[in-house]
Every structure is written in C-alpha cells, then in structure tokens.
Symmetry: C2
Subunit: 344 residues, 2 copies
C-alpha cells in the first residue's frame, strides 16, 4: 500500500558511488553526455539502472535556477476555445523538457493575482496567459520579476512582455462589414460576458454604426445559452435577419432554437459563430464562423518561452496571428430578398 510519507529514492550520489565516479560526473553523464567519455556514460547508465535512480528536478532547479516548468493560466480549462492552444503548448513544451503547470482564474480578476503569486512561488521559466493579465498589480509584479510572459488571444500595445494574439475589435468590425455586404439590416448579437467577447461586440457596434439588440449570457457560453439568447433577441427584434455569436457553441444553440421555432437557417435567419470549433464545418447547416488558429498560438507561445530562456533574441515580441471569416451554409441565401414580411 502506498504510504503517506515521502518516498525514498536513490540519489545521484548513490549512482556515482555504484559507477565509481564523482557525483558531478554522474550529473554530467546524464545531463550533458557530450562532454563525458563514452565508457563513463555507459557505467553511469548501468548504475542508474541498478539503483533505480530517478532524478530530483526540484533539487536541480534550486541550483540551476531553471525549474523547467511553465505556468499556464486559463479562465477555466472547460472553455473549448483555448483547448487547441493548451494542447499544442503542452506538447511543444514537453518536447523541450518543460512541464506545464495549470491554473484556473475562473474569470475572477482577484483570483488572477493570487494565482500568479502561487505560480511564481514555483519559479516557472515562463508564464503563458489565455488573454491579457488584467490586474495592474499583477502586471507590475510580473514585469519586475522579469519572468518571460506570453499573453495570448488578445492584442495590446503594451503587453507585459510578449504577446501572440489578434484584435477582437477587428473581428467584430469584420463580421459587421460582412453582414452589411449581405444587405442585412436587422441584426443582433448573442454574446458571453467575458472581456474578449465584449471587445468583439464593441468592434461590431462601432463598425455597424448604431445600436442592435444584444443578448448577454454568462461565460463560458454553451448551446443552452444560445437557445435562450435567440429567444431574447427575437423579443427585441421579431424580424431578426442575422446573429453574430461570441462562440460556435452559442451559435449552435441559436440555430437549434431557430429551427425549433420553424425559422429556416439560412433563409430566414443567418448565423455567424466564433472559433471554428471542430463541429462547425460538419453540423447542419454548416456554420459560418471566425477562424483563429489556436494551435499556432500555443506553438508560438512555447517557442517564445524556449527562445527567451535559451538567450535567443526575440525578433518580434508582439505577433498578430490574425483571423479569417469562414463562410459556410449558415449565412447563405438569407437576406431581405428572401425574408418574409416581419411578424407584428
């Protein structure tokens, strides 16, 4: 049965003794084989085997000041949006020997600060944040500490350190322009209440030029919230022609609710999502959405951290990864021409 007390393992000193070398030679044989003779390496390798040695990275980190960990802060791991980023980040870092320490801020800014303190106490070699760090105190602290920080999934002129993201206002503006090109007049927004979704809404409204019906629900949004949102939008605007949703999950709910109410999508209602989730292209109707390469964000964030720690110069501290609108069935053939006369 597994005990509650700490477990005892062979140390590097044990390995060195068995191999008949000094501890530092054993250390080098394992960490830096290039500068040790092949015969010594082999002896150490065998000693590792017989002793069942497992290195203690905690001890190594203390001396070398490199913990080989990277902290990753997300609002909640269940937010589908960030999954490809976390996935790729984890893999890319693991390939370079880093482990990812996960923290959830829960969309609460106060917790963000406390969480950063806890994370920093473990001396991560870098911190990757989904979104920007909002607490000024936390920003200042991170800047002073000089830990490599990558903020992601957003854009800012003054990141704490490095940034990989895109402009949510531009996303909103692009969707507004797209809706306008289609000739839709009566449009609405179904959105989560998180920071980035709000930016997209603002961008949309600024480009659109006048107020439109908005249904706001708590983040993270899902299909059920989308269904409710459409109900509220239709109350405000029974002749609704198009809806911009802050996530594909929300869009799926809007479409489900529309079809359930006998509204054709497309035809009577057009729907645009955000995120290009794996189901977006394959649902019926196929969902028009804003595609963001979340995996690329994770890969670039990992590279930035690794480069920074290896002393390489960072050519570009801010990367705008962009986005594009993927037009699919959910926004086709809808518009004033095909729109039946508005309900009373």
């Amino acid at each position: 049965m597994n005990a509650s007390r700490p477990f005892k393992t062979a140390t590097l000193a044990d390995v060195a003794r068995v191999a008949g070398v000094s501890p530092i030679t054993a250390s080098r044989a394992l960490a830096n084989p290039g500068i040790v003779s092949p015969r010594t390496i082999e002896r150490v390798r065998q000693a590792v085997e017989t002793t069942g040695y497992i290195p203690n990275l905690l001890a190594g980190s203390l001396k070398s000041n490199r913990s080989m960990t990277v902290a990753c802060l997300v609002p909640a791991i269940s937010v589908a949006q960030f999954l490809p980023t976390v996935h790729t980040l984890t893999d890319a870092l693991a390939a370079a020997g880093y482990q990812l320490v996960l923290g959830q801020t829960g969309y609460v800014h106060a917790r963000e600060e406390a969480l950063i303190d806890t994370m920093v106490a473990r001396r991560p070699d870098g911190i990757v944040v989904a979104g920007l760090v909002h607490s000024p105190a936390a920003r200042q602290k991170l800047r002073r500490l000089g830990i490599p920080v990558v903020e992601t999934w957003d854009l800012s002129d003054e990141p704490i350190d490095m940034l990989v993201g895109f402009s949510h206002q531009e996303v909103g503006a692009a969707v507004a322009a797209f809706f306008r090109r289609r000739g839709w007049q009566r449009v609405g927004i179904a959105t989560g209440d998180d920071h980035r979704a709000s930016l997209r809404r603002q961008g949309f409204l600024a480009a659109w030029g006048r107020e439109v019906p908005v249904a706001v629900g708590p983040a993270p949004s899902n299909l059920a919230l989308g269904r409710r949102a459409l109900g509220r939008l239709l109350q405000q605007e029974p002749a609704l022609e198009a809806v911009f949703c802050s996530s594909d999950q929300l869009a799926q709910g809007v479409i489900t609710e529309a079809l359930d109410r006998g509204l054709q999508v497309p035809g009577q209602l057009a729907v645009c999502g955000f995120g290009d989730a794996d189901f977006a292209a394959h649902m019926r109707p196929a969902l028009t959405t804003v595609q963001v390469d979340g995996a690329a964000i994770g890969a670039r964030a990992a590279q930035l951290i690794i480069d920074r720690r290896s002393g390489a110069a960072i050519a570009q501290a801010i990367t705008d990864i962009g986005f594009r609108i993927v037009e699919r069935t959910s926004t086709m053939d809808a518009g004033p021409a095909t729109r039946p006369s508005p309900a009373p």
Copy 2:
C-alpha cells in the same frame, strides 16, 4: 524588457534581516503563525511587503519533501470527456495549496511511461490518471515509489493504489438491455478506438449476445467522425434502428448525418450517446446518453490525494461512482412498429 537569465528575488533571509529576526522565525511567521508572537508576525509581514518577497516553494519542497504539486495525466486535454474532472480536480487541489502539473499521453502507451518518469522527477505529492496506467513497467514503478496514485474513469480489481471510476462493460451492457427493452433488433455501434470505448463495446456485445455492425474511428471522436460512422453502419445494415455511440460528439454526428439523409431521429433511427455533454440535453432531438459525474470523480480524486498526504486513513481505495442512462428524445417513439420497410 524581460531578461532570459534567472530573476533575483528577495529571499527569506532578506525578510528576516529587515524584520530583525532569524530566518527560521520569519519562516514560521509565514508558514505556522500560531506559534509566533503577534508582534513578530506583524514585523515579518511588513518586511515581506517592503522586500517584495515571494517564497521559493522549490527550496521548501527540497527540504520538506512535499512539492505541493499533483501530476495529472490525460490522453489529450482536448478530450471533452475529462474536462469536468480536470476542472474540479484543479480547483479542489488549489484550495488545498496544491498545483496541478499537466501531461498528455496522446493515447500512446510508450509515451505514458516516459511521461510518468518526467512527472515523478518533480516529486509530485500525487498522480491522477485519466484511465488506468497500462504499461506494466510504469505500474510497478509507481507502486514501488509509494506516491499516492488515483486512477480514474475506469474500474479494476487491482489499481496501482486508489481508483475512482465505473465499469465500462456495465455501461455497454446497460445500453444493450435498454435497446432490447425497446424492442430494437437491428442495432449498431459507432465508437472511438480508445481502450474505454472498446470496453463499452465489448460490454454491449456480450449482453446483446450476437455480433452487430460496428464503425470504429480514431479517438478522440467528434461530430465529423460520427457522420462518417453512420454512413458505414448503414452500408452494413440499411435497416438500422438504433446506434450506440461512444461519445455525445459522435452521437451528434450520427444524428446530423441521419437527418441529412432524411432519416427521422427518433422515429426511424434511435441514438444513444455517452458522457452527457453540456449540449446533450439542449440539442434537437435532445440526446439520450449515459451520464457520468466527471466533476465528482475529480473532487474525490483530489480528496484522496489530500487525505493520503495528510496521513488520514483511506476508508475506501476503490470508488465505483456509477453511471445512469438519461432517456431523452433521441430514443423515443422509434422501433419496429414505426419503422418503414427496410431498404433493398
């Protein structure tokens, strides 16, 4: 600009000097305030403030042999199935001062072993695995090390240490019994190729008593794979009445494809998923599925690790968390009676 070299922080010795006490007193004031005088605590607290001290948990861990980290191994973070477990686990552990270190095995058993080695090198106070650890070498190693291990989302008579899960064979058998009660004869299975999905399929087939059409796709499954799977099932059995899917995402694909082909769901085809994803109850038709309390698994796993490390006796090393079939619209009103004559 953030530097690539290690950052320098005030140490506990600095705090002690500023507070005019010895380092160990400063340590106690922060970690064990109960045995230090209030005046001293206040002086130390102020010294922490002025120095900007951030404790180094790495150093503390080395001495105390408690890293206050827990390793969590999942096939891939993007597998929606485990998200509630990881979410709850992270939060429950954080509340007790533990941080979660995330690792992805990628459904590759060889990587599982290497990943466990890497994780163990950081001396976690516990390891939580989504699923069972399959590599015998890794099992043996973990057992010998005596680290608290919680295997989850599966059942076994001989867990490495502790276990919180349920029987996938029983799930399959329960769905088979459910299908039989409904009187369906021509049933099929759409499934991912991962271990647990295979167990559910086996359980289904054993209870069903004879072979049925099966469409297997790569894990993790999604909507697109579900669409393809239905196509293949219909090739094998054009008069298909009901499909058991290894995930709700897969089921969503099967339903989408069915509706797209003009098959009514329910009415002509019944579909049962697995997992009770957030969208299952709200999609149209509402999805009948197997509900598993993933958050409860995470909460119990956290509790087990915390109890074990605090020396508490573990009353129950194996917890069968169970499951239940949630009947919704997707399996209603379908059956031989309403089934049109089979296609040629």
